[in-house]
Symmetry: C2
Subunit: 430 residues, 2 copies
């Protein structure tokens, strides 16, 4: 058997401790599958040797994670500190410069600095793997780089944030509104005290930027992601979605268009007949559409200590075996730098919800606004009657360019009989 | 760039031609991802140079596939002939003996001879990969060997036969009976003229034996698979399943039990709330339960020229990159040879359907038969009334040992008021 792979773990939060636990508990299995032992040689965290429920005896302790990453007795560094700058960046960049393989679960770091770091790793001849950074335990990056590598990917999309999916699922099942469900989710630990990273779509956008880069051989372009969250999704929208045969999901979607690489994260109306509509609760899923394989979906737990550790350690096994591949599939020099497709050029269908005064002529005004912008209506629902009072009206459109849709919405927003800002949710043809 | 990988294709049926098409159409992409060109150097098929809709000019033609497999100008052999014996076996064994890497889509061959062939490949230092043999385009073997390799797999199960899933889906959606749907499926090309390999569960059993071997590090044990098909599933069962909150799926399932490796293929009642219940039509899906990752599901097309070619070529890319892993994850010497767990020791719940004379006392007799074998009833449905005539009665049990269930069924079958053989479908807790 080859000599052990000596691993340093930078960060002993949830994921770091899960990784320690996995490496210890499944040590024999891992040695058989890796062809050598995976040994935790060192660890670093802010607070020294706090009791953490795992046995850290015999492991060298570093107060300075960056120093640990350069230590000559280390072969591979696991970075599970988090954050796009600062110490996490120092650890990863330093480890690569010192010729160490790196496994990172840090989506923010890779979304912002993945291109530069992968160039550095390539130059140093070391692995920079980050399976755990996208969709937790789901081995989607390996699937894109290897299992589905024979395909031109035509589109990729997924449920990339478990917090949002939990909230939207709960809203659907309970009929309650966003704020109530969010506060429950916080109490249950499914949402952070400051939930904005999740519910405003930033976390999903980090992951989408990585997925799109791997799938399309593009340099990571986080700045090119159009990002919206789920704060504006109401119980009423979820009810109408059901009536129209949809479910509302926060998706990240990417595809190549004539205008460049389209990357977008926002709430979507998803046909109930598609597999991803049935991915509920904290589960994540990613759908890959390839020119030969057709549609493939991978579903699993997108967060949590143990699923994330599963992905971290899978990367370590590949490194131990010497069968790691380039982080973004192809050499850095071969990565494209396509322009970001502007959202104004997006073509799609739309769900539009209005609160209007229930009186004759209102629908005619709305229809005229759509017509004036060449937007074609597919269906319209006005449920209940309350003459002279506010009632919701919902309509869906055929495919149209987003710029035209925005102009139509501006017109509608200006109508006297429209009482609240118009709500729009994109309808996806999946 | 490294020299090209010179590929020989043995068999130019649907999958062989799909593979040729993929290697030609995506040649540039494949070269970028493999770091070298994948070149079709030779091909062999029964009928020479029949027009096949792909360009075979410049490719060496062999009438004798086994001779081609030994040719010194070949680096890797793709075996897509099919069949567990004869020429397919000669090609694979001969290629390995001649030091060639092998990629096979042949589940029958691998289910019967996978252990011996993988030992031979290991001794020769060549790859024997067979991603395409299990669930077509879904990269499940790679996921088990690599992406989920950090986990002890606790259970694996899946929809492994698209023909059966198509038939069961159609039966559910149309309310028609098995024979009618089968004959439509044959007309549409979703079922073979002789459909027995598919509908009697043999094809799914081949795939399950391979999945179980890779997931549990066991020597392939096709003989140890308990196999039942779907011929006995009636429209009535599908209707009752819906009423009880289930869908009927042909699953292959494997897990380790105190009695050995349990491998079984049969129709199952699957709770409608589980993801696999929503995998419909010709789609396949595999669920892996791991001790750290939890539940992961992969879904996609399990057959067809293009999805299968996607899997074949992914294996070729790995070979071209030199990053292939052992076919069954660990060295042949490390594979276990666990006994097959007898079905009589299986513990599970059961759905039981009877046709009985509608008269007082019948249910009491049935209940007594169950009680006498210590089988606990969960619920019972008798819908409609037709005094003195035949009516269906359906019941479900709590978990019980299969041996006890079989004894209870024998008792029930002997009752005068029971008019047809009792139908039993296992209920799976997923």
């Amino acid at each position: 058997m080859k000599p052990p792979l000596r691993i340093a773990i930078a960060g002993l939060g949830t994921v770091g401790l899960g990784t320690v636990q996995l490496l210890q508990r499944n040590a024999e299995l891992l040695a058989a599958r890796a062809g050598r032992r995976l040994v935790i040689a060192a660890a670093a965290a802010r607070e020294e040797r706090r009791q953490r429920g795992v046995d850290l005896s015999g492991i060298r302790w570093f107060a300075d994670a960056a120093a640990m990453a350069r230590d000559p007795e280390i072969d591979a560094v696991v970075e599970v500190i988090g954050g796009s700058e600062g110490i996490a960046h120092d650890v990863v960049a330093g480890a690569i410069a010192a010729g160490k393989h790196v496994v990172s679960a840090n989506k923010a770091l890779l979304a912002h600095h993945g291109a530069a770091l992968s160039r550095a790793a390539e130059a140093a001849g070391v692995a920079l793997h980050f399976e755990a950074a996208v969709a937790g335990g789901i081995p989607i990056l390996k699937a894109l780089r290897e299992g589905l590598a024979a395909n031109n990917v035509t589109r990729i999309y997924g449920i990339l944030n478990g917090t949002c999916n939990y909230i939207l699922t709960e809203m659907r099942e309970s009929g309650r509104d966003f704020a109530a469900v969010l506060s429950d989710a916080q109490r249950l630990g499914y949402a952070e005290a400051d939930p904005s990273f999740d519910i405003d779509g930033v976390d999903a956008a980090h992951k989408l930027a990585l997925l799109a880069a791997v799938a399309f051989g593009n340099a990571v372009d986080f700045a090119g992601v159009h990002v919206e969250g789920i704060r504006h999704v109401s119980a009423l929208d979820i009810e109408f979605a059901a009536e129209l045969g949809y479910r509302i999901k926060l998706l990240g979607l990417a595809r190549l268009t004539p205008h460049g690489l389209e990357q977008r994260v926002h709430a979507c109306m998803v046909p109930r007949s598609t597999p991803i509509a049935h991915v509920d609760g904290v589960f994540n899923a990613v759908v890959v559409e390839g020119d030969f394989v057709g549609r493939v979906m991978l579903e699993g737990r997108g967060a949590g200590a143990q699923p994330t550790a599963s992905a971290v350690v899978a990367d370590l096994i590949d490194i131990a075996r010497g069968r790691w591949s380039q982080g973004f599939t192809v050499p850095a020099a071969a990565l494209e730098a396509r322009p970001a497709a502007p959202m104004a050029r997006h073509i799609g269908a739309y769900y539009v919800r209005l609160m209007v005064v229930d009186r004759p002529g209102v629908i005619a005004d709305v229809a005229a606004a759509l017509r004036d912008e060449q937007v074609s209506m597919e269906q319209m629902i006005q449920r209940g009657r309350a003459p002279g009072e506010a009632v919701p009206v919902v309509l869906t459109t055929h495919e149209t360019e987003e710029a035209a849709m925005r102009r139509a919405i501006e017109r509608i927003d200006r109508l006297d009989s429209v009482l609240e800002p118009v709500r729009v949710i994109r309808v996806e043809a999946l």
